[in-house]
């Protein structure tokens, strides 16, 4: 399956570039630069080398032997994107776009961030490549992810809290587009996921495809066979697109796991597809969105800031409609349980976002025969979530510590 052969930015009825005219020229410039790079074999080689030397690629695959035994059923394995430099798959996309920004002669980068992971990755890339950097972050996320704000600022980025709208990821994206619409001459917008106007969904998929390529080769080598299923959490969809691309043409079931929040019936979730509550709309691109009767985007909720997003990749919308990707959701509570289990039995700390994929895989593992393989995208590591997780676990001594620090 080649999703990108047409280079049109269209995936069935989804995708496109619904942008103000002022952005037309910079989107055109970016599109041309991206395809020129994609057509240049030296570019991909440069990217792979960079990721090997600067990050931790290829990231390993870790069999989750203890949990597999504990649950009984499938053989679970994790693709370890948490071992990337800066702690998540976000760096793959960011370093790729950084190389492209250098090719285009840009001097400044801007980015939105939800969980802060994409912001930290972008600030890191900017420091390494000598680019000025500004990160837009919803005010609510600034509160939730304070440690990442600290790191972005130490890395030399300016962090601007966004006070418009729901003060989360979508509003930070809007603010980036506003910045870009006057700064485009010297600025590249490093969009963090497989959403937004064309060419972003295709471009981010391209850089993230390194995950799926590696995973497929590694599984054949280490396990002598493909997995039956692959699970990935879906915010915008970049870690999912990354790992899924390795298996699109194989008889492998691909499962996207959305944020079920307080429950799909609660109205407090970020499940655009699995809930059945999303409908087709346009906000920069055509896809499924959570919107009200007038087409206004609604507030979403997830314990994981990186999944708390109102839209979803147009490519995944297309793959969901065609049945190639199955969508499900994991609720906040079961995500925390999955996280606890993974820490205790495997000594691994997935990010709250990634823990959604673990939760769904654990829930369904018994459906599979023993020995059948399940690959989980461990998109990031969870240390950034220490405040949220400690609160969810009701860790009394941590609370005590915070009080002491605040008092001191």
């Amino acid at each position: 399956m080649n999703l990108f052969s047409s280079r049109s930015g269209r995936y069935g009825p989804y995708g496109g570039a619904y942008i103000p005219e002022v952005l037309h020229s910079c989107i055109a410039e970016l599109t041309a630069a991206f395809y020129a790079a994609k057509d240049d074999p030296a570019f991909w080689a440069e990217y792979v080398t960079l990721m090997a030397r600067y990050s931790c690629r290829p990231t390993p695959i870790t069999p989750l032997d203890n949990i597999s035994r504990h649950l009984g059923g499938a053989r679970l394995l994790a693709k370890r994107e948490d071992l990337n430099h800066t702690g998540s798959h976000k760096l793959n996309n960011v370093m790729g776009q950084g190389l492209l920004a250098l090719r285009m002669g840009k001097k400044r980068v801007i980015a939105e961030t939800g969980a802060g992971q994409h912001g930290v990755a972008t600030a890191t890339m900017a420091a390494r490549f000598g680019l000025r950097c500004k990160i837009y972050m919803g005010e609510e996320d600034v509160q939730r992810q304070r440690p990442n704000v600290f790191w972005m600022e130490r890395l030399g980025a300016e962090v601007e809290p966004v006070r418009l709208g729901s003060r989360t990821l979508k509003d930070a994206i809007n603010e980036c587009l506003r910045d870009w619409s006057h700064s485009m001459d010297d600025t590249h917008y490093v969009l963090g996921t497989v959403c937004g106007p064309h060419p972003f969904p295709e471009m981010v998929s391209y850089f993230q495809s390194i995950v799926g390529q590696e995973a497929r080769t590694q599984l054949l080598e280490l396990e002598g066979g493909l997995p039956q299923r692959v699970y990935a959490c879906v915010g915008g969809g970049s870690n999912a697109m990354g790992i899924f691309q390795g298996f699109l043409d194989d008889p492998v079931e691909l499962v996207g796991v959305e944020a079920g929040g307080k429950g799909l019936k609660s109205g407090r979730h970020a499940s655009r597809i699995a809930s059945g509550e999303g409908s087709v709309g346009v906000a920069g691109y055509r896809s499924y969105f959570l919107q009200d009767a007038d087409g206004q985007m609604v507030d979403t909720h997830s314990v994981a800031a990186g999944l708390d997003y109102v839209g979803v990749s147009p490519i995944l919308a297309y793959l969901a409609d065609s049945g190639r990707v199955r969508f499900t959701a994991a609720e906040d509570g079961e995500v925390i349980e999955a996280l606890k289990l993974t820490m205790r039995l495997e000594g691994l700390i997935p990010a709250l976002e990634s823990a959604h994929a673990f939760a769904a895989a654990y829930r369904e593992a018994r459906q599979l025969k023993s020995g059948e393989r399940v690959l989980i995208s461990m998109s990031g590591r969870g240390d950034k979530d220490i405040f949220t997780v400690a609160e969810a676990l009701g860790d009394a001594s941590w609370l005590e510590y915070l009080k002491r620090k605040a008092g001191g």
Binding site: V22, G165, D294
Partner: protein, 266 residues
């Protein structure tokens, strides 16, 4: 058949060198305020009005309008009420009325229903800030069949080829954004705006409405003879918020003086 947007504008331009186009965000600060604003526009001699339907993701709008969009929605503004406002505006102002907004509002209610309602309230056309001509061909075509104009936007930072392509599909008027960036920021009125307007004139015979950063009589005076319309948005809203309807009517009147003196200074 009622006259088209272009025909109305040409008729108005026969007796006035530069038309004044006003803007309001429906439901902001409130629908009652909108009616007072419309009265002030009539008193101040405004020639046409764009009524912005608030949207939750107003990416083309700067801080003042983005917040106005958000506040209007927080106060419960519904799309149906925006159409009702247009119907009432029709009875207050003699000039053409345009719907302005973002394309999800249209797609969500359906193109057919949107155009039907727009025609029913007597609108002359619409401006969708995030619908490029190549993605809206169907909507723009259907609008034309109903005698309404899908207004397109041109910006200075595109190639002549792109300007030509957009102009080919434009109807009614060409909305010229004076500079890069979003609404509400400062614009330097000078040679580059003049060059841009000349470029637009070269690719399209349609009347040119220049917007983004028009704040003062001097800006309007500058535009006389270079564009056919001046669009006043953010500065008018700020004036209303400071001084109410009377201040707003005075503000438009002072701009009209700019239209007149513009000829003398040139």
């Amino acid at each position: 058949m009622v006259e088209t947007l272009e025909q109305s504008l040409r008729r108005a331009l026969a007796s006035k060198p530069l038309l004044l186009m006003a803007h309001l965000v429906a439901g902001y600060p409130s629908f009652d305020d909108n009616l007072h604003m419309l009265e002030a526009m009539r008193e101040g001699g405004v020639d046409l009005v764009e009524v912005q339907f608030p949207f939750s993701e107003p990416v083309a709008d700067g801080p003042v309008f983005a917040r106005a969009n958000q506040t209007a929605l927080e106060r419960g503004t519904r799309v149906s009420a925006c159409f009702d406002l247009m119907a009432r505006a029709r009875n207050i102002l003699p000039g053409p009325l345009l719907m302005m907004g973002y394309c999800n509002t249209v797609f969500h209610m359906g193109e057919g229903r949107f155009l039907e309602k727009l025609a029913a309230v007597g609108a002359a056309g619409f401006i969708l800030a995030d619908l490029p001509p190549e993605l809206g061909a169907d909507l723009y075509g259907r609008a034309q069949a109903l005698g309404m104009s899908g207004v397109l936007i041109l910006t200075p930072n595109t190639t002549l080829e792109r300007k030509r392509e957009v102009a080919r599909q434009a109807r009614g008027l060409i909305y010229c954004a004076a500079r890069k960036g979003v609404t509400g920021l400062k614009t330097d009125f000078g040679g580059s705006v003049e060059d841009f307007l000349r470029d637009v004139g070269a690719v399209s015979p349609l009347p040119r409405a220049l917007g983004f950063g028009v704040r003062a009589p001097a800006d309007v005076a500058f535009l006389r003879g270079k564009a056919e319309m001046a669009v006043v948005g953010t500065a008018a809203l700020e004036t209303y918020e400071r001084g109410g309807a009377r201040a707003l009517a005075d503000f438009y009147r002072r701009l009209q003086e700019g239209v007149l003196t513009g000829g003398r200074e040139a």
